[in-house]
Each structure stands twice: as structure tokens, then as C-alpha cells.
């Protein structure tokens, strides 16, 4: 008979847990795998029934994503010079010619600027505010904190029309600054609350030691508090970035041209006269990457961050 252990799970429960985790993983990863694989299919393959799991990969989707093309007659094609590279070849084989780059690159860059810009601003302001709330006597502190939280009590889209009108009057519609301010406004309450929790956990003695060692309050904050709040800052930054990166409703409403982000743009790739699923899937795949990379880079902090408070250092 094996000894009973209070901490070591039994073989059966390990097996059940393993099965459940695997099942959950398959369910969550399947759509992702579908999107990624569709990005590498040809048009007919992407809509074939039954769906093709094994197919010959093609970069047609990615080519379509990054280019604007037009149909050419066989006569026109015959007069064209032979394709210079494989991209031209793929396009010409379908009886099309490239007329220029698509706007996906620009839109993707907009997403990067707005997503990271608003994340930076939320974290910057959020950290300072959280530090002040955590350490200083702020008049009406509890009311202010409640007020900050209350901005999250209704879905942001509920104020879409007032914001739309305000932005039009202020000239912020379809500008990078406007979108950065908007996402910062939504994220900052989360940032203040999360970061206040983290900073509350840092003993004051560290700063007091720095004050006595001859540093000013701000130097103590920068050199002693910030390095210790790194975990909290990293996990808060991930939450902020995920929101700003994925936000769709306001992006559709407030941006159309110069500041349009990737989420409202990707559905428009679907094209005219034929549904270009591989290009949409390629766009979605590329769109997933930055948040994924950012999260993986900060995952060490994130894991410690989301369990904060559970275990005392």
C-alpha cells in the first residue's frame, strides 16, 4: 500500500487533470490553428468541403493581404514582361496584376502606435497616481478611487455617441492622438487600481531608507519603488495593451482613414467579387503576433503578477 500524501495528488486525479487540461487546450487552440492554417491555403482550399486539414501551403493569402491588384485579360498579360519574382508569378498565374501595396501595413502601424502609445501613457500616469494614492494623504482618497473605478461600471460603448460628437468638435476624430487619449481614458482606471495594489505591497521602509540615505522623494520613487513594481507594471501593461490592441467598436466609429487601426480594417480585406478568406486569415495571424510576443516577453512577470497577493514574498 502506498503512503497517503496530503500534498501529492493521486495518479487518478493527475490523469483526470491532465485530460481536462489537454481538452481545454485543444478547444482553445483549434480556432487559432484554423486561422493560421487558412492563411496558408489557396482560395479554393480555404472554402473546400469537407475542410482540408492537409493541403499544399501557399503564400497567396499574404500576397493578397499586402497588395492591391486588378484583373488583366490574357492579351494584356501576354504583353507584360515575364514575372520578376515569385510574388508577381503567383498573381499573374491567377490573371491579375499588382497595382500597388495595400493599406494593411499602414493600418497595422496605426495599431502599433495607438496600442503601445496608450499603454505607455496609461502606465505612466497610472503608476504616478497609484503611488500617490498608496503613499500620501490625498483628500477624499476613497471617493476619488471609487470615482476612478466607476468609469468602468458601464460599457465604454455606451458613451460612444457623446464621444463621437465631442471628438468631431475637438478635431480628434480619426487622429492618432484622439485614439491614444480614448484608450488611455478607458485603461487608466484599471492601471491605477492594479498598480495601487502592487505598490501597497512594497514596504515603505525601502523608500524611507532611500530618503535617509540622501535621496529626494522622486529619486526614491524612481530608483527604489519602480524596480520593485516591475512585476505589477508588466502585468498591467499587458492588460492595457490587450484592450487597446483588440478594441473594435470605437475604432470603427471614430477612425476611417489616417488613424484607422487593424481591427476595423481586416474585415474590409474580404474583398470585392469573391471572398478572400486566406488574406483575412493572414491579416488576423499577423494581428495576433505583437500581443503574443509582448505577453511571452513579459510572461515571467505576468505569472507572478496575476497571482499577486496570494503568496506573501
Amino acid at each position: 500500500m502506498s503512503a497517503y500524501s496530503a500534498t501529492e495528488p493521486s495518479a487518478a486525479s493527475k490523469w483526470v487533470a491532465g485530460t481536462l487540461v489537454t481538452l481545454y487546450m485543444v478547444i482553445t487552440l483549434l480556432p487559432l490553428a484554423w486561422i493560421i492554417s487558412t492563411g496558408f491555403k489557396t482560395g479554393p482550399d480555404s472554402i473546400s468541403y469537407p475542410p482540408k486539414v492537409i493541403f499544399s501551403p501557399s503564400i497567396e493569402g499574404y500576397v493578397n493581404l499586402f497588395t492591391d491588384r486588378t484583373r488583366a485579360t490574357p492579351e494584356q498579360l501576354a504583353t507584360m514582361p515575364p514575372p520578376e519574382n515569385f510574388v508577381d508569378e503567383i498573381v499573374q498565374r491567377r490573371g491579375e496584376v499588382i497595382t500597388g501595396p495595400s493599406r494593411f501595413g499602414e493600418r497595422f502601424l496605426n495599431s502599433v502606435i495607438i496600442g503601445f502609445g496608450s499603454t505607455f501613457l496609461s502606465i505612466f500616469l497610472g503608476t504616478l497616481a497609484a503611488y500617490a494614492f498608496s503613499r500620501f494623504k490625498v483628500p477624499l482618497k476613497d471617493d476619488l478611487l471609487f470615482f476612478i473605478l466607476s468609469t468602468r461600471m458601464m460599457p465604454p460603448i455606451a458613451v460612444a455617441i457623446p464621444i463621437f460628437l465631442m471628438y468631431r468638435e475637438l478635431g480628434l476624430s480619426d487622429t492618432h492622438l484622439g485614439m491614444i487619449l480614448l484608450y488611455t481614458g478607458v485603461n487608466i482606471s484599471l492601471a491605477v487600481w492594479l498598480l495601487k495594489g502592487f505598490i501597497d505591497e512594497i514596504p515603505r521602509e525601502y523608500e524611507e531608507a532611500a530618503l535617509i540615505d540622501g535621496y529626494t522623494r522622486f529619486q526614491a520613487f524612481r530608483k527604489v519603488v519602480l524596480p520593485q513594481a516591475a512585476t505589477g507594471i508588466a502585468s498591467t501593461a499587458i492588460f492595457c495593451l490587450i484592450f487597446a490592441w483588440n478594441e473594435y467598436a470605437f475604432a470603427v466609429l471614430l477612425t476611417s482613414g489616417t488613424a484607422q487601426t487593424a481591427p476595423p480594417f481586416i474585415p474590409t480585406i474580404i474583398g470585392v467579387g469573391g471572398q478572400d478568406w486566406p488574406a483575412v486569415a493572414a491579416g488576423a495571424t499577423l494581428f495576433l503576433l505583437p500581443v503574443m510576443i509582448f505577453t511571452i516577453l513579459l510572461r515571467k512577470h505576468l505569472l507572478r503578477g496575476i497571482t499577486f497577493g496570494a503568496v506573501r514574498k
Binding site: E205, Y206, E208, A209, L211, I212, D213, T216, Q228
Partner: protein, 364 residues
């Protein structure tokens, strides 16, 4: 190094008054203890001297200069915190050099100074280790190193031995005292442990409820407590209190307890009503011929001495007697109280009456 003068120092936190008008002087080079139970205002007083709290009113003079409203960074004071507060993201060397970096000391000089401090404290071998994995004693030494590295005007220590285990505490207390004797730096040390205060301090301030109860040398405070609180707080077991109603005149050399006269140092003031006679356990001797009687209730063996608990007409009395003496439970014996060291308190005010013995002792 510096003399620190505290004048009418007061600190209020909203409606709560943590320190109520303290005044005392810490002489240059003194090892000065702030002693009291938790919540008595001793840490608040220390933090005000260090500049981490600003006083509501009153003055703090360091070397004659009023610093009471100056920020900590301008006071040139070092502090050792109870939990040491070593910067967790820096290694030992960086922790110790950090106060010098803030002053813009050249790198070569910092390296030399850190090496010197490490040698004094015997921590050369751990200089490049992260502070996370250090033992309690090493953390303590690093915290001390960070304090002494820049030759500040004074050291503040907030229960620096509180986080160490009992065995090691003794050792560190000796090390601290030796370090002080060698550096002759003015040190203000907060503790709630009366033994620690007596063992290490040149002077002790006893505080309670934000008020300075007594200020003096360990011996003065032990032998001639100014108040009932001090008498009870200092000493283990605490001073015995025999409560009685009576009158005492200036010039009296005895008081009468239950018809029995008990000799004490000549009184210099009068009192009447509820009085308390205070006697330390070691100043109670068992003697068959003494008229004041008590019944032996219990005896605790402590090696060289034993503590005998007796019940008397005026309350329970503990006597510390040699362990060789025989004390039979239930027996009634005479108690002889050493007249030289008796204190008489006014039960209403809790204050010790002035006698020939305690006349020179500072009262809070």
C-alpha cells in the same frame, strides 16, 4: 557627531496624539534608548528625529541647528530599520555604497570606503551576493554597514534586533555596543525590550501613551523609578507594589503598613490617602524575626536564585532569594525590605514621592 536636543515635541495624527510634548537631550556620543510598550510614541519620536515624520509642534536641534521641518535627506542621519529595508534589487556592495552615491562621492573613494566598512563588520566575503539569500545576522550587518558608511551625525535604530532570533540577538547586541564604543557615534535606539535597553544604553527614556515617564541612566531608572508605570515596566519580575492607605510627612523615615512600621529613605514631601510602597524582588529577604509577615504560595527555581511568591495583607509579593534557602509552601515567614531602595508612590497620580534617595533623579 552631534548632540540632539528635543524640545516640547508633539505629533498628532488626526485626532490621535502620538507624542505629547516630549523634551530630552541626547549628548554627543551617547547610546540613547527610547523604551516603552508598543504604541507609546517611541518610534514616532525616532521618525521625527530622522525626518520621516514632521512634528506638529516643538523643536529638534541637531548640533544646535533646528531641523524639525527639514526633509530627511538634509539631516545627515543614518537609520537601521526593524526589517532592515535592504534594497532588494541590489547586491550587498551596492546597498552599502548607495548613501555615498547620492552624495556624488567619486567611485574610487566609494570602493575604498565600502571595503573599510566591510572589514569592520566582517562581511567582505558576501559583498557581491544578492541581499535576498542572506541570514538575519548578515542582513543586520549590511544594514549597519549602510548606516555607518558615510559618517552621519547620528544613527537611528528602530528595534534593529527585533527580527533576529533570541540566541543571535544577544550576540548582535554585544556587536552593536562594541561598534558604538569604537565609533563613539550618537545613537538613538528604539526598543520595547527593557533588558536590551538596560544592557546597551547609556541613557534611557521611558515613554508611555506619548508621554516621557522618566529619563535617566539605566541604574537610576531601575533603582528609583519616577512613576508606577516605570516601576512596573522595568525589571523582571516587576517591582512589588504594596497598596495601603496612610499618611506620610516630609522628614518621615518610615511608613506604617497594617500597624507595622517599615523604614524607607527620608521623605522630602508629604502625601496622604492611597499610597503604594514599591520594592524590587531582590530587595525582599525572608527573615523569621521580621514583623511584616507573608505566607509562601509558590516558588520558582531559577538556578542561582529562586522567586518566592508570598501573599501579604497588602497584596502578593515576589522575593528573589538565593536558591539555597529553604522556602516551604504554606509557611508564614517574616519579610525584611531593604530600606535604601524602597520607593513610595502616590496611587492617584502614579508619581514617586521625593525622598533622600531619588532626589537627584530626572523626572519626566
Amino acid at each position: 557627531m552631534a548632540e540632539i536636543v528635543i524640545r516640547n515635541l508633539r505629533k498628532e495624527f488626526g485626532a490621535f496624539t502620538a507624542v505629547k510634548g516630549s523634551s530630552f537631550t541626547i549628548k554627543d556620543g551617547e547610546f540613547f534608548m527610547l523604551l516603552g510598550p508598543s504604541g507609546c510614541g517611541k518610534t514616532t519620536t525616532l521618525r521625527m528625529i530622522a525626518g520621516l515624520e514632521l512634528p506638529t509642534s516643538g523643536q529638534i536641534l541637531i548640533d544646535g541647528e533646528d531641523v524639525s521641518q527639514k526633509p530627511a535627506s538634509q539631516r545627515d542621519i543614518a537609520m537601521v530599520f526593524q526589517m532592515f529595508a535592504l534594497y532588494p534589487h541590489m547586491n550587498v556592495r551596492k546597498n552599502i555604497s548607495y548613501p555615498l552615491v547620492s552624495q556624488g562621492v567619486p567611485k574610487a573613494q566609494i570602493a575604498a570606503k565600502v571595503a573599510e566598512v566591510a572589514r569592520i563588520l566582517g562581511i567582505e566575503s558576501i559583498l557581491d551576493k544578492p541581499v535576498g539569500g542572506l541570514s538575519g545576522g548578515d542582513r543586520q550587518r549590511v544594514a549597519l554597514g549602510r548606516a555607518i558608511v558615510r559618517n552621519p551625525k547620528a544613527f537611528m535604530m528602530d528595534e534593529p534586533l527585533g527580527a533576529l532570533d533570541a540566541e543571535f540577538r544577544e550576540h548582535m547586541a554585544e556587536e552593536l555596543r562594541a561598534l558604538h564604543d569604537r565609533m563613539k557615534a550618537t545613537t538613538v535606539y528604539v526598543t520595547h525590550d527593557q533588558l536590551e535597553a538596560m544592557q546597551m544604553g547609556d541613557k534611557i527614556v521611558v515613554m508611555n501613551h506619548g508621554v516621557v515617564e522618566q529619563f535617566g541612566t539605566p541604574q537610576d531608572i531601575y533603582d528609583h523609578p519616577a512613576t508606577l508605570f516605570v516601576a512596573d515596566f522595568i525589571g523582571s519580575p516587576a517591582m512589588n507594589f504594596l497598596r495601603f492607605d496612610g499618611t506620610a510627612q516630609a522628614g518621615d523615615q518610615s511608613v506604617t503598613l497594617g500597624g507595622i512600621p517599615i523604614a524607607l529613605p527620608e521623605l522630602q514631601e508629604a502625601a496622604s490617602g492611597a499610597l503604594v510602597l514599591g520594592v524590587r524582588p531582590e530587595h525582599v529577604a525572608l527573615a523569621d524575626d521580621a514583623p511584616y509577615r507573608g505566607r509562601i504560595e509558590a516558588s520558582e527555581y531559577l538556578g542561582t536564585t529562586q522567586i518566592v511568591t508570598l501573599s501579604t495583607a497588602h497584596g502578593s509579593v515576589k522575593a528573589r532569594i538565593p536558591s539555597g534557602e529553604v522556602a516551604r509552601l504554606g509557611e508564614t515567614v517574616g519579610l525584611r525590605l531593604n530600606a535604601r531602595t524602597l520607593s513610595l508612590f502616590d496611587a492617584g497620580t502614579g508619581r514617586a514621592l521625593r525622598t533622600a534617595a531619588n532626589a537627584g533623579v530626572h523626572h519626566g
